[in-house]
């Protein structure tokens, strides 16, 4: 098989427009979950409750859209639920000194069981819910961009939450690196004592960071239930909260990095679905890839970091000898 045939196969099956669009779609909830992990991580909080908050967001979005026939109401309801859950989470763990990991585990289990319960109690169905009254977001064609040959197909025709996500990545970057509040947040995450002595209200910043993470998680839920496929399924978050943590760790806490690594995981997801559908490769290995890659990346980056630190020390020692 010569080079041209291989590139032809690659272009046709791997790097085609449909796959790219699928990648961007599948990456969207991961990006949001990643931002949820990022904002708390940068404030020095290990928030493992993202999974549960996504689930709550997905459920309330469906409820809002179903009862008011409007995805915008769903979105608002989800944001409200994100604020409430994360507010309680922050209140209990930051103010009432509950261990944050403990609270995270409790919230995740609580979310799973209460959404299952609520689906039965409110929608009177078990497992999954879908209805013609449930209105999701419609795809948006962007006027000028949609006419550009390839770029148009790539960038246009997604639903509102997708564009919102892209915007949020940019806004998070601006917030973190270009505003005083972002600086404060990073200071709190890196050295809370030092931040405290500078007069930064550490508790308040952390509280707000947790609230923000709740909103990101809720938006991820909105995308899952109204943004692409419309309907609610029990436990539809399917570990995305944890993949978000993986993405954030993988990206080292940088917003753009979170976006890019989510694209990578979205791509794996897309290709994996194809491979599974054509029975080439067991899906289980594809499903574990994000976690596996993160573990490997963590190993690699930490080893490199310690090597560089050691090299630096050696260099300093070397320079000091002649003097």
């Amino acid at each position: 098989m010569d080079f041209e045939v291989i590139t032809d196969i690659l272009m046709r099956y791997v790097f085609n427009i449909a796959n790219m669009q699928g990648m961007l779609r599948l990456a969207t909830p991961i990006v949001l979950a990643g931002l949820c992990a990022l904002i708390t991580d940068r404030a020095g909080i290990l928030n493992i409750a993202g999974e549960g908050m996504i689930l709550f967001g997905a459920w309330t979005a469906v409820a809002g859209s179903y009862f008011y026939h409007s995805p915008i109401v769903g979105l608002m309801a989800a944001i409200a639920s994100g604020l409430i859950v994360s507010g309680l989470f922050a209140l209990f763990s930051l103010k009432f000194r509950a261990n944050i990991i403990v609270m995270g585990i409790a919230i995740n289990i609580f979310a799973t069981s209460s959404t299952i319960f609520l689906t039965r109690a409110v929608f009177k169905v078990a497992g999954s819910f879908s209805s013609p009254d449930l209105i999701g977001f419609y795809p948006i064609q962007i006027p000028l961009i949609k006419d550009i040959p390839i770029l148009g197909e790539l960038l246009s025709g997604y639903t509102f939450p997708v564009y919102l996500t892209w915007l949020l990545v940019f806004l998070t970057w601006v917030f973190l690196y270009r505003t005083p509040w972002g600086l404060h947040l990073r200071a709190v995450g890196e050295n809370p004592q030092a931040a405290e002595t500078l007069g930064i209200n550490v508790g308040m910043i952390r509280f707000l960071a947790v609230m923000a993470s709740g909103v990101f998680a809720a938006l991820a839920g909105v995308y899952l239930s109204l943004g692409d496929l419309i309907g609610y399924t029990d436990q539809m978050s399917a570990g995305r909260g944890f993949i978000g943590m993986a993405v954030n760790t993988f990206a080292g806490g940088a917003p753009v990095g979170v976006f890019l690594s989510s694209l990578l995981f979205g791509f794996i997801d897309k290709i994996g679905g194809r491979l599974q559908a054509e029975n080439i490769f067991p899906i289980y290995f594809i499903n574990m890839l994000p976690y596996l890659i993160t573990l490997l990346a963590l190993t690699y980056f930490t080893i490199r970091k310690t090597r560089m630190a050691r090299a630096k020390v050696a260099k300093i020692k070397h320079e000091k000898v002649p003097a």
């Binding site: 290990l46 493992i48 309680l88 209990f92 763990s93 103010k95 009432f96 000194r97 509950a98 261990n99 990991i101 403990v102 609270m103 585990i105 409790a106 995740n108 289990i109 609580f110 799973t112 069981s113 209460s114 299952i116 319960f117 039965r120 109690a121 570990g239 944890f242 943590m245 993986a246 760790t249 067991p282 289980y284 290995f285 499903n287 574990m288 976690y291 596996l292 993160t294 573990l295 963590l298 190993t299 930490t302 080893i303 310690t306």
Partner: protein, 374 residues
């Protein structure tokens, strides 16, 4: 503790214990109350639900056996989590270790042919080993690279569940249609009560695994209370900086805590397979690890407390099972109530007002010394 008599000790510890009991009781009360409100809102009668819950869990003959069956794996995972939490190791990976223990035990169970007296202990041992080996990955990453075990144990959970699903869907699959492994040899199964006497626990799969679970509770309780290793673990859990000062090898306690915790979780998986299922079925028991985490939290992260909490949780599950059959109440209501109770218990801060009560005023100081006593 040579000179102090029992009564003196009691007098000194009583305020702290009373205070903690009070907060636990209040938390349970609050959880039950909030749960009742939810039930009333959705048109259920809370008193009827709670009473038939207790009825189904502990007061009926069959219910008691279902409780035992449900509680057995939970006791293992609860002890595994409690042990880790007390040692200052956040092992969120109990779920994954449980699965790996289960699949390892299944493999040894069906692939090896030995007399029962060797086969059964060997299989259980491999279950323990599987869990411990799986816990070794995050341990290694923490020790060699300094990566937080919380992140890595979460990641390895997902790797474990997918790996195990792959194994029972591909290489270990017995029949082409169903995603399950072959049955384990009869020499590797744990007898169910029904095997001894057809009347004993009819219609349930309660098995002698509960005795192994109780043994684990007692052994771990003894280790924690009466041995040097246990003392070191507790000390590190309370303050790692102080323990390092006093010459405790933090690396060793961390590795020890993590591996024993993972091993117990794996043993739980093995017992569940050998006692109840006798083969590995894909996704047979999602959530045992997380529920174990919850039970450990419910039990105040102490060994005995977690054991009882797991039993209680098993009882609630068994009662809820009954409930959803007879009254059409979703099983998840129970998880909601338990979740509430944990929220209230974990949030120490909301109970600060109890410290103003006279007998509990010096609780804060006492709690530390009390925990350190041998």
């Amino acid at each position: 503790m040579t000179a102090t008599t029992f009564s003196a000790r009691l007098k000194r510890n009583l305020p702290g214990t009373l205070n903690r009991t009070l907060t636990v009781l209040l938390s349970i009360l609050l959880g039950v109350l909030v749960g009742s409100l939810i039930m009333i809102y959705y048109g259920f009668d809370p008193i009827q639900i709670y009473s038939s819950l207790l009825q189904g869990a502990f007061l009926s003959e069959k219910g008691r056996f279902v409780t035992i069956q449900r509680a057995t794996p939970l006791i293992f995972t609860a002890i595994a989590s409690a042990l880790a939490f007390r040692t200052g190791v956040f092992n969120v990976g109990v779920e994954g270790q449980f699965f790996i223990g289960a699949i390892t035990a299944t493999y040894i169970g069906y692939a090896v042919k030995l007399p029962m007296i060797i086969h059964l202990p060997l299989t259980l041992f491999f279950g323990f080993l599987g869990g411990a080996a799986w816990a070794y990955i995050p341990t290694l990453m923490r020790q060699k690279l300094g990566v937080s075990e919380i992140i890595t144990t979460i990641m390895t959970n997902y790797i474990a569940t997918n790996l195990v699903s792959y194994l029972c869907n591909y290489p270990m699959k017995a029949k082409p249609t169903v995603a399950e492994t072959p049955f384990v040899q009869p020499t590797a199964t744990l007898p169910q009560f029904i095997d001894f006497n057809p009347q004993l626990g009819r219609g349930t799969q309660a098995n002698v695994g509960i005795f192994i679970a109780i043994a684990v509770v007692i052994i771990m309780w003894y280790v924690f209370k009466r041995t040097k290793v246990g003392y070191e673990w507790r000390l590190v859990g309370l303050s790692s900086a102080f323990s390092e000062f006093s010459g405790i090898n933090l690396t060793r306690t961390f590795i020890g805590g993590m591996l024993v915790s993972g091993g117990i979780a794996g043993l739980g998986g093995a017992v569940e397979i050998l006692g109840v299922w006798r083969r590995y079925k894909d996704l047979f028991a999602l959530g045992f690890g997380f529920k174990g985490n919850l039970a450990a939290l419910l039990g105040g992260q102490t060994i005995l407390g977690s054991g009882f909490a797991a039993l209680f949780y098993g009882g609630m599950e068994s009662g809820a099972l009954d409930l959803s059959f007879t009254m059409g109440v979703p099983r998840q209501l129970i998880d909601i109530v338990v979740g509430m109770i944990i929220f209230f218990m974990a949030a120490e801060g909301i109970w600060d007002f109890t410290k103003k009560i006279k007998w509990a005023r010096d609780e804060q100081v006492r709690r530390t010394t009390e925990n350190l006593e041998v």
